[in-house]
């Protein structure tokens, strides 16, 4: 059993390639189901953000698993070939995978160190995985841990302070086009998280007016209320384009919402007054050719990355601290996973049974000093027979089920039934759940229930714990 990741990110692949791999939320179920239908893949999660597309999987054999997951990635888009994808893809196994996701959720792998979005995106990906039931004991534990590590890194180091996120780069760029943002009008197209964040920064920098347009009018009204702006009907937002000095485009549309012609017409109507367009969407929503229109300044996410790259150096020190934190957590996670292998569990189970048997036998024998060595042997034999008979069924089931889809759940259950866990482990896993629940509440607001399902055993365990306290 191995945990692997196959993916590509802003470090390795251009936005053109990343956007082709992005899977819309509506098709995620289908994609995840297809992922776990590969013979080697037991559990799978698809993490797709503006900056990365990654597939995390628990596989029975890492070599086969890597190939299969890569096949899966190639087949997400009809026009992709292995040769095209191969040079941009990174593949990690076991501790490297764990380290990678921990770094991702901690924003250590982000364009902007300490940026807050990625943690939410990991949570979203995890929720989708849970909703489509493609995760199991290992992935659940692993991703929850990653989320709590992400949170810990943000609270225990100062990288979040430096979190001048990608969206803030938009404000800095705007200030190189407009000397004062107080006279500028912003048009927000779409309701993508990053777009909202960029708009929020601009509002905080004091823009004069904000117009909001989304396909869903209700959503637009909500946003307009948040930003104290006005709603533009999505059907004719292009007619409002010339009024906008700054346009933020962040929709989920897989095509160009704003074409070069739209930009050209707007600039003409603006009598050549410069316009600043930020495209935060992947796939892109503004035709990249719009960059060639005079007085139109179109920036996509990669451009923003180049912009924020400048002052990242000074943040490295805090990042080192965060890396140390991640490293410790990787070790903890790794030892937990190792415990889930079938063989060590069986060995531990035998050992435990042997211990109990020996203790009980010697207790009895100490009281029956008068019996002959032959009888002693018989008693020992009896104990051994009972233990072996009792264990035999469980061990056979464990051995066969370990190979099945729910193998790790069985092993985990066995470890708990026979109390094979390390003394501090149960405590820790419960705290992870609670942490995750509190993380989730942070984001969705109070009153929201916890996860749809997060592993029966763990739920029971935490309820028991609550009861006790």
């Amino acid at each position: 059993m191995n945990i692997i990741v196959v993916g590509l990110s802003h470090h390795t692949a251009p936005v053109e390639l990343r956007e082709r791999l992005a899977v819309p939320e509506s098709r995620m179920g289908e994609a995840l189901t297809r992922l776990v239908s590969y013979s080697s893949v037991k559990e799978g999660m698809f993490l797709s953000t503006c900056n990365r597309v990654e597939v995390y999987a628990v596989v029975s054999n890492w070599e086969v698993g890597l190939t299969q997951v890569q096949d899966f990635l190639v087949s997400t888009h009809f026009s992709l070939t292995v040769d095209e994808l191969f040079p941009h893809v990174y593949r990690y196994v076991d501790d490297a995978t764990i380290r990678h996701l921990f770094r991702v959720s901690s924003s250590l792998d982000s364009m902007v160190l300490g940026e807050p979005q990625v943690l939410g995106q990991v949570k979203d990906a995890f929720e989708l995985t849970l909703a489509h039931r493609t995760s199991g004991v290992i992935l659940n534990k692993f991703v929850k841990k990653a989320i709590s590590v992400g949170k810990a890194v943000r609270t225990q180091t100062r990288i979040a302070e430096y979190a001048v996120s990608v969206s803030y780069a938009g404000v800095e760029l705007a200030k190189k086009i407009f000397s004062s943002l107080k006279d500028q009008t912003v048009l927000l197209v779409g309701a993508g998280e990053m777009g909202k964040l960029a708009a929020r920064h601009l509002v905080n920098s004091g823009v004069k007016q904000i117009m909001v347009t989304t396909r869903n009018t209700h959503r637009a009204l909500n946003l307009a209320e948040q930003f104290n702006g006005t709603v533009i009907p999505f059907e004719d937002f292009r007619s409002a384009l010339p009024k906008a000095d700054i346009v933020i485009c962040a929709t989920g549309a897989p095509y160009y919402v704003i074409s070069t012609d739209d930009i050209q017409a707007a600039i003409r109507q603006r009598m050549n007054r410069p316009m600043f367009l930020i495209d935060i969407s992947v796939p892109r929503n503004i035709d990249p050719a719009g960059k060639d229109v005079d007085n139109a300044f179109v920036f996509d996410i990669d451009d923003l990355k180049t912009h924020v790259g400048q002052n990242q150096e000074e943040r490295r020190k805090e990042a080192d601290k965060a890396e140390d934190l991640v490293k410790d957590e990787v070790d903890v996670m790794l030892s937990w996973i190792r415990g889930l292998e079938a063989t060590p569990t069986i060995v531990a189970l035998r050992q435990r049974a042997e211990e109990i048997k020996r203790a009980e036998v010697s207790k009895v024998l100490s009281r029956l000093e008068h019996i002959s060595p032959k009888d002693q042997e018989a008693i020992e034999g009896l104990a051994s027979a009972i233990v072996n008979k009792l264990l035999h069924g469980s061990l056979v089931t464990l051995k066969s089920e370990a190979q099945s889809k729910n193998g790790f759940a069985f092993i985990e259950a066995a470890r708990r039934f026979f109390d094979l866990a390390e003394p501090d482990r149960t405590e820790e896993s419960t705290s992870t759940i609670q942490e995750f629940q509190s993380l989730k509440t942070d984001r969705v607001g109070p009153g929201e229930s916890s996860l749809p399902h997060q592993g029966l055993l763990e739920n029971v365990k935490s309820q028991v714990n609550e009861h006790e306290s």
Partner: protein, 268 residues
Amino acid sequence: MAETLIRVTMVLYFIGTMLFLIYLLRRSDFLSKGALAVAGLGFVFHTFANLARTINLGHIPIMTFQEAMSFFAWTLVLVFLGVALKRGLYVLGAFLLPLAFLSLVSARIAPTGTAAFQPVFETVWVHVTLSMLGTVGFAVAFVAGIMYLMQDRMLKSKQFNTLYVKLPPLDFLDSLNQRSILLGFPFLTLGILTGSLSAHMSFGSYMSWNSEQVWALVTWVFYFAVLLGRVTVGWRAKKAAYLTIVGFAAVILTFVGVVLKNQGPVSL
């Protein structure tokens, strides 16, 4: 005395130019104050040079091409120091100071024939002063245009380098461009009118269609069109930047006209 002072001025402007150029290309800001101090010191020497010359000549030294260029450079540096101190816009020095330096140099190497032109009419200095003030406006517009195009290029090519950091925002440069022309244009208009008047008083005709006059008229029409084009057909931003650079070429050709006319007075 005046000669020594002007030489010191030139050396200081040159050093200032170099410092500003280094400042422009280095990330740190520490050179800005030093460069500004050198430019300021140069300006002080320049002022004393002008004073010394005024005392020597007994009138304001603005009768000859050399003197006119020196006045131009002096005003340019004055404008720069004003803007730099008021708005902290040091980066302008990297563009205006070299222009001032080059004006002083070009005045020296220009074929002036006899060192000084003959002042035909006493009030000709009014014409020269007004024209040169107009030129200062166009020079600042020209520099704003160059800076605009540079910043435009940086933004378009996504090169967020030191130049990008140091150059001011686009709309500031565009409005600097516009305001400079708006300020320079009335001066040029008055300069041309007074020049024409001086010519009438000296020679009896308002126009003699020499190269200086023709280029001056071309310049006037051009900047008039630029101002009009901004409000009517949107000649702003990048287009305005290009236009002011072209316009300044017309200004320079006017100067060449003055030099070629050579022996005559600056006016005619």
